[in-house]
Point group: C2
Chain length 413, copies 2
């Protein structure tokens, strides 16, 4: 039988919508990879009574209760007190953790305030999750067959603590083995993907196939379960092949984190170099590429030319072209991708120009119209996009389209 877990995020700021509960994502992913089922997530405010109730409910229905947040030094951080009470433990001062916190502040030349000390109090007899990324230690308690895990709230502390402390701790407890793969699709809507795979996927129980739509993309998650990792893995192989066959080349990769990373991998593999010339995306395309570790192997740089003058001056775009077709035109996008290659001396260039903001635009090109072009070894391919929802969406969609053209063109070489 596999274990179940429940995630409780503590923080009024989440209930007020002031921060996004990304810790839940971090913890949920880790649990999923361990084959631990999570049926519920809860968010509760910095209120001791409600927090106590939520922990008791979770303890009732799950084997493992995981809290995030409320371990900080401020007066509304109360997870440890409440959770320790729910599990019948006292808080005691850990001299070792106090020393670590003191050291943390000393190393940074920062002043340690009195309330930082409170962070060194932990439930008696717990397993300490040392915090190498901040001040508040996490911990785990085992009591009557139930487990309580407490993690700090700030994502930059929670993330590494999940990876380096919680996962190794939980690995000892799980038995069933899982193999999970994501088939990533761009350029086909969720309904269409669903219709195509319905007859094939609906009745399947192991592996399971589940579609998710996200940021203009569709992902099919294939998850196999077996007694060993190898067996679980083997179950997924023919299913993934079948999906690729049904969906065709809209599948841009399996287990790749994003379209731009898929494009990057092809460029890297084929030793192709890249530069960008962006207008309305304002640096988003180059930002995405440079988010990838090792991007300097492929990426030489980019120009963001937000004004016509800069398009001419920095990228040598022809003033006649701009006059004849306008800066928002397929012709300009194609000139930009070509200019990127030429200016930076790269194999590939991405050019983007358009009206990202839905409140802008002209008669020919309403707001949300963007032209995207890719030049690869002298051959140019371009697309027109119309995404009049929001500035952010038009920018992001334009970047996706650029990377989609790029990965398709680069694959042909």
């Amino acid at each position: 039988m596999s274990l179940s877990a429940e995630i409780i995020a503590v923080g009024t700021e989440i209930l007020l919508g002031e921060i996004t509960n990304t810790d839940a994502v971090t913890v949920a992913r880790a649990l999923s990879a361990l084959g631990i089922n999570a049926y519920y997530q809860t968010v509760v405010g910095d209120n001791p009574d409600r927090l106590y109730d939520v922990i008791m409910t979770a303890k009732e229905r799950a084997d493992i209760v995981i809290t995030t947040g409320g371990l900080g030094p401020t007066f509304d951080d109360l997870t440890k007190q409440v959770a320790a009470r729910a599990f019948g433990r006292k808080l005691v001062l850990s001299e070792q953790e106090l020393a670590r916190i003191e050291e943390y502040f000393a190393a940074r030349g920062k002043k340690m305030t009195e309330n930082n000390k409170a962070q060194a109090y932990l439930p008696e007899g717990c397993t300490v999750f040392e915090n190498d990324w901040g001040t508040a230690p996490g911990c785990a308690i085992e009591q009557n067959g139930k487990i309580l895990i407490m993690l700090p709230g700030p994502p930059r502390e929670c993330e590494p603590m999940v990876e380096h402390r919680m996962v190794p701790y939980l690995k000892k407890l799980s038995d069933a083995h899982f193999a999970s793969h994501s088939v990533r699709i761009y350029g086909m809507g969720e309904s269409e993907v669903e219709s195509k795979i319905k007859s094939f996927a609906e009745t399947m129980e192991n592996p399971t196939v589940a579609p998710y739509a996200k940021d203009g993309e569709v992902m099919l998650r294939v998850c196999g379960r077996a007694k060993t990792e190898d067996e679980a893995e083997k179950l997924t192989v023919p299913v993934i092949e079948k999906i690729k066959e049904i969906i065709g080349d809209a599948v841009y990769g399996v287990d790749v984190p994003s379209l731009h990373e898929a494009a990057f991998e092809i460029l890297k593999e084929k030793k192709l170099t890249l530069a960008t010339a962006e207008s309305c995306t304002g640096g988003l395309v180059s930002k995405l590429i440079t988010d990838i570790p090792g991007s300097s192997e492929v990426f030489f740089g980019g120009v963001c030319a937000y004004t016509n003058e800069m398009k001419m001056k920095l990228l040598g775009i022809d003033s006649e072209l701009l006059e004849k077709y306008g800066a928002v035109s397929r012709e300009c996008a194609e000139a930009l991708s070509l200019a990127a290659c030429e200016k930076f001396g790269t194999d590939a260039g991405i050019g983007v120009t358009g009206y990202a903001d839905p409140t802008t635009g002209d008669d020919k090109n309403p707001g949300g119209t963007v032209y995207v072009s890719v030049t690869l070894r002298g051959v140019t391919a371009s697309r027109k996009i119309y995404q009049p929802m929001s500035r952010a969406l038009a920018k992001s969609r334009a970047a996706q389209e650029a990377f989609d053209i790029l990965r398709r063109e680069a694959k042909k070489l």
Copy 2:
């Protein structure tokens, strides 16, 4: 007495950590602005029994139950069936909604699949929330003094539906009035801010002052409650003034959404123009600026020079400087910000160079070291940052520091 609400997100993909529950943020913010209390958020999978239980629990403890997700066309979308049952309503076909969905597909030249039709079934007697941004309509039911609201899951549909359908619907129901303001702070840690305001804020009940740490920044939320909006507003004014006095110029704004928008506003107000020359941030700085509507008033463009050759060729950085000090140096950052001004003919220039990736670096500058420089009307100010946690964090911190220098320098003019 003010109303309470509870948000339920439906989707196994959230439990698996495959997507982030951003809808909860959207809904929570809207509720908070309306003065509706939200004490819990829950996430539950695409499982009818567990979803039913969660809805019944929420109905018990809140006046308003709001679901997001599970209205899509695929076989695991079951919110409507389950929620309608929990509120004792049948689902009936809305001919009007069916026509809208048909129209939606026709307008986009896309094929409507059979399962899209299911989206036109709605609880009998509900208020329809028409979906102008996608296919699945939302709705509201009132039953025995309790309200059920169902919203679509995709953020690009949920967001506008909250703003244009749910908020107007709920406005009729609320009575207490709130005024809420965010004092934004950069360059001071949460503990330090907390220590400074503790004696002043801890005992305060109306307005309340609550600190939140987020993305390297601290925010103090000041929230007043009164019989009228004006009265609530008046309560917050002296408290905000007092905070500014205590914290000093680390306060970069009140109710501004971000540091880069605060910097942008000052530039715009003083009619100063901006360009960027980025290395390790790879376009992030220009991306952030161009995320702001109307950024073209201030921003001319930027160069992302990822290689030394491009720094020389495109920005005219001196090869001797690069040889003597290295590309990762204060000298190079300062040359970059100056070059940005010169190349683009702007008042202000931002230059960034460093090792964003913690796995890179050299003897003098370990991974995570970034130099940030701002030139404003010929005067240059720069900072060295050391943020060895992750590539993303180093990039984001560098951009923040750049905007912090910029807003401080621009304020002096």
